[in-house]
């Protein structure tokens, strides 16, 4: 009963949550909050690498920020005992992403590398993914942007420039991931090794607070981070299965 078996195996395949038996690579980023100084070099690097638009003072005053990674800053206590805490917040590339289900035109989906991809030319701008994201890491292009000269000469040719009405977010520098995978293939079909690929923010962080790698590789630094007792996920209780693990800052007072 070849047809019957094929039908049953197809049905089981299509009913598996998440569809993928196993990811090719499970890209993970670990952020050590002990090392993070809040310098925002990662924000600048991301802006340079990914052609992030510059929205301008007026638009920013209206609240239309545009940066794919932001440093969240929280004050605790009052002067002279005030403490400052910051945490870089970027797209968590959730395995059970709430934003992916709601796009009516399938402009965002989960790819084979465990990344949450955004397809700019399919997006019609309903902005429901931004509502559904609990981390608020999706940013919408409210206007068309332009870069004053000579900034328009430093745009990255590997990354598209988004027009108005399109949603965008951190992609773990998927252009660099693709490039690393291509090089690995050219080198004789080997896997991408630790250190072959670093997104712009990871590359720039001066205190090496950001670490990037494949958590399927048990020797990678991120795999070790996941096993660290300080490790936690933001908004864990929502069960979004994020791919970004934070290492809690250990303070003198706990």
């Amino acid at each position: 009963m070849n047809i019957m078996e094929r039908f049953i195996s197809s049905w089981q395949k299509y009913r598996k949550p998440g569809y993928y038996e196993d990811f090719d690579y499970a890209w993970t980023m670990s952020i050590d909050l002990d090392r993070c100084t809040g310098c925002s070099a990662c924000v600048t690097a991301c802006q340079a690498e990914n052609n992030i638009p510059i929205v301008g003072e007026k638009e920013l005053a209206k609240g239309r920020e545009m940066h794919w990674i932001r440093i969240e800053r929280y004050w605790e206590g009052e002067y002279p005992n005030a403490k400052l805490k910051f945490i870089p917040m970027l797209c968590q590339q959730c395995d059970a992403a709430p934003c992916e289900t709601v796009c009516p035109v399938s402009a965002t989906y989960h790819n084979q590398d465990g990344l949450n991809t955004q397809v700019y030319n399919r997006c019609i701008g309903t902005r429901s993914c931004a509502v559904y994201c609990p981390y608020e890491v999706r940013y919408f292009n409210y206007n068309s942007h332009h870069w004053d000269s000579p900034l328009d000469q430093q745009l990255n040719p590997d990354v598209s420039v988004r027009e108005k009405g399109v949603m965008e977010k951190c992609t773990f520098c998927i252009q660099r991931v693709r490039q690393a995978k291509d090089h690995a293939k050219d080198d004789g079909r080997r896997r991408v090794q630790e250190g072959d690929i670093q997104p712009a923010c990871v590359q720039t962080c001066p205190s090496e607070a950001l670490v990037f790698g494949d958590r399927k590789d048990s020797n990678s630094k991120v795999a070790k981070s996941l096993a660290d007792p300080r490790a936690y996920h933001v908004l864990d209780e929502l069960n979004t299965l994020p791919s970004v693990v934070y290492l809690k800052k250990v303070d003198s007072d706990g």
């Binding site: 009913r15 598996k16 998440g18 569809y19 992916e100 289900t101 399938s106 965002t108 989906y109 989960h110």
Partner: protein, 171 residues
């Protein structure tokens, strides 16, 4: 040429009585034209079968199948995993199925109505404008002049305000 006798009545009860008398006298089934639906027409003129419910039912079944095929079929055609859900997710697809069931049920009901009421009327049919205002009409086909005479008598006996002799097309 076959013609029709048309009797205009002031109220529905007289019209029904006239229709009943015509049927007892052996005429072919008369038609009752009215501005509002007349209760009691079924007892006098014979019960009517409604075929519309079959249309609705099969339309709904077709819609359910079409809805689930649309949702599940298109999900399988271009594999697009989202949100850690399976490709064929049952609760969302059941909603699509439900909506399509109702859509096709509605469309099938309309189709059933048009077919069973024989609308739209392409050719002219027997009609007088008074029946859309406040008169009730009984029409019956009379093939001979004698029959027309008999029909006229029955209609007047039942209380017709006016009896007309019309051709098939209403002239």
């Amino acid at each position: 040429m076959a013609s029709s006798a048309l009797g205009l009545f002031h109220d529905p009860d007289s019209a029904l009585k006239a229709a009943g008398d015509l049927m007892h006298a052996g005429f072919a089934r008369p038609e009752l034209l009215s501005p509002i639906p007349v209760h009691g027409a079924d007892e006098v003129l014979g019960p009517k079968k409604s075929v519309i419910k079959r249309f609705t039912f099969f339309g709904g079944i077709f819609g359910a199948l079409a809805g689930f095929s649309l949702a599940a079929g298109t999900a399988v055609l271009y594999l697009h995993p989202t949100g850690g859900r399976p490709i064929i997710t049952i609760p969302p697809f059941l909603i699509i199925t439900y909506e399509m069931t109702i859509l096709f049920g509605i469309l099938a009901t309309v189709l059933g109505f048009l077919i069973s009421a024989r609308l739209p009327a392409i050719r002219e049919r027997l009609y007088v404008p008074e029946v859309a205002v406040d008169k009730f009409a009984v029409t019956v086909v009379c093939d001979t002049q004698d029959n027309f005479g008999r029909a006229e008598a029955i209609l007047c006996a039942a209380g017709a305000e006016e009896v007309r002799n019309l051709n098939e097309d209403g002239s």
